[in-house]
Amino acid sequence: MTPLIAAAPQFVQPEIWWTWLAPYLLVLGAAVVGVLVEAFVAPRARRSTQLTLALVALLGAAGWNVWLWVDQFAPTEFKAIALVNGSLMVSYFTLALQTVILVVAALALLVVADRSRGADDFAPTAAAIPGSDYEELARTKGLQQTEIYPLFLFAVGGMMLFPAAGNLLTMFIALEILSLPLYVMSGMARHRRLLSQEASLKYFLLGAFSSAFFLMGMALVYGYAGTINLWAITNGHALQVPEALVGGRPLLVMGVVMLLVGVLFKVGAVPFHQWTPDVYQGAPTSITGFMAACTKAAAFGAVIRIVVWFAPFIGLDLHEEIQVTIVIVAIASMLLGSVLGVVQHDVKRLLAYSSIAHAGFVLVAVAGVLPYDGQTFVFPMNSAVIFYLLAYGLATVGAFAVVRLVRESQGRGADAVTLGEATHLSQWAGLGRRSPFLAVAFSVFLLSFAGIPLTAGFIGKFTAFKVAVDGGLWWLAVLAVLCSAIAVFFYVRIIVLMFFVDPAADDTEPEPAREVVAVGALGATSDAPVGTPLAGEPEAGVGLRLSDELRRTSGGVTVLKGSVGSRVAIAVAMVGTLLLGVLPGPVLDLLEKTVNFLP
């Protein structure tokens, strides 16, 4: 009788290459240290410590990635490197996308950290009931919720892991690591807290729902292939289909489609878009910018991973099924995003519908994936998608940074009370005269969204649609161009509004938005009388008390100056957008390497 131990599989110690793991460890490690900072550093020094730590981690990881690319990867002839027994699979595509995510996240962090006029975007304590005395006490004591920085870093860590995943389990864990902090962060807004909490709940429930789909898809693919390793699945190494599963091809197709549902939800593509407008509107504006730019980049990394590894499924071509799915989703996203964007009156909602349309445009490039021809694995869509996401990310972070500076206010002079963001479009009239820098910057971002030449958005759209044409989907590219034309309408409308329409006089009443009335109705249930003036500093709109009354009686819009960090972020985003539009050559040449992708 043989001893049991001999029959057991041998444990093989995985080889850990610390050099390659350093960027993830840096970002996630800094997040863990950030949690300790919360416990051990004095409250006064916390914010600056956290901010320094986070910025160093993000830029350090980005620098490390560049070094890996130039010094470690480029001299070798490898096209992908498997780490930790294949749990991570690093390719040029991964490094490039991670660097984009890190740079854009660093810009977003500068906006998140903006504390001009003594208040950032976050509730003094998110645990307090909106409108309660406890909240008021926390505000007058000047409490800050610096936990936002570790949460931010955890989210970025998940986003870095997402396009690096070498097996489906890593991908699922990365999906959760990036989602959970985002659910929390979107519920922490300082102003209009009810909307923020509602956004958080919606995001959480729908997000959890979609990750359950992702998990089931993972189970089905595992059931078909007998392994979760993407490399093994693609090469059919483990394609010994057991008899119980004969006829399992529908199983596989359904599994892959469910995986796509999970990641397309994160992207915000139709029909998985319902959360997008609500969450973008309700979440703190700086977080919305971060979420829109970086989550989209990370999730598209995962979409491409799935498409690239499964579309040329050797011996069992899945190309057609995947392409049809992507094409349908792309058409629906472009049409719905562009058409519904036209009827929006709220800047944040409008940018949300624009983001849905952009998800569609990127998917147009993804749909151009070619079937496996038997020899080469070349995916021209990779470089187009990364460039598009960089262009979109810069413009998005910049645009939301501008949106958070345009505030509602009441009163004049020293007594002026600054409220939440003035998101209604009518309040943006005449911004060009009041604050030329912000208006010009916002126009550049909008033109980039619209895809007007000499901005990064144009080059992004051009390269993306070119991939689709090369892939034989010229009609899809034509449709995409038509949808861009529809979208131009609402972007240009805002520019006209900012520069060529006189601002409403201060005594005119802006039309009360419906949500405001609802807030008022709910505010009546709290025992604090609605609209009572606050003691202490002239800052209001925290919680319920002042969020409705003041807004309805004031026509005033103030433009905050913004901290140095947030002005730098806007300037960098604007210069980057223009530079990538005028001189895209060097970046496109660099990204050329990412099209080689050896599974």
Partner: protein, 99 residues
Amino acid sequence: MEVGNYLYLAMILFAIGATTVMLRRSAIIAFMGVELMLNAANLAFVTFARIHGDLSGQVIAFFVMVVAAAEVVVGLAIIVAIFRTRKSASVDDVNLLKG
């Protein structure tokens, strides 16, 4: 008993979970639907692990349990916060965001 039956069970549980999420009004119950879906996926993983004679499916099940626990922490915190504000956890009542 045939192993395939566990897969049918997993699919049925998954469908029940998905229906719960879409039909029930209480955020807590909807959230339980999500948990049911995750556990259905776990059952599928373990069954496939048995069919393939491969351990990774069972390992994944453990990972999923941990992830589900983390999700409960975040989810319940959000639901409790919104309940304390509105005295209601019904998803029909959270209707301020629209347009």
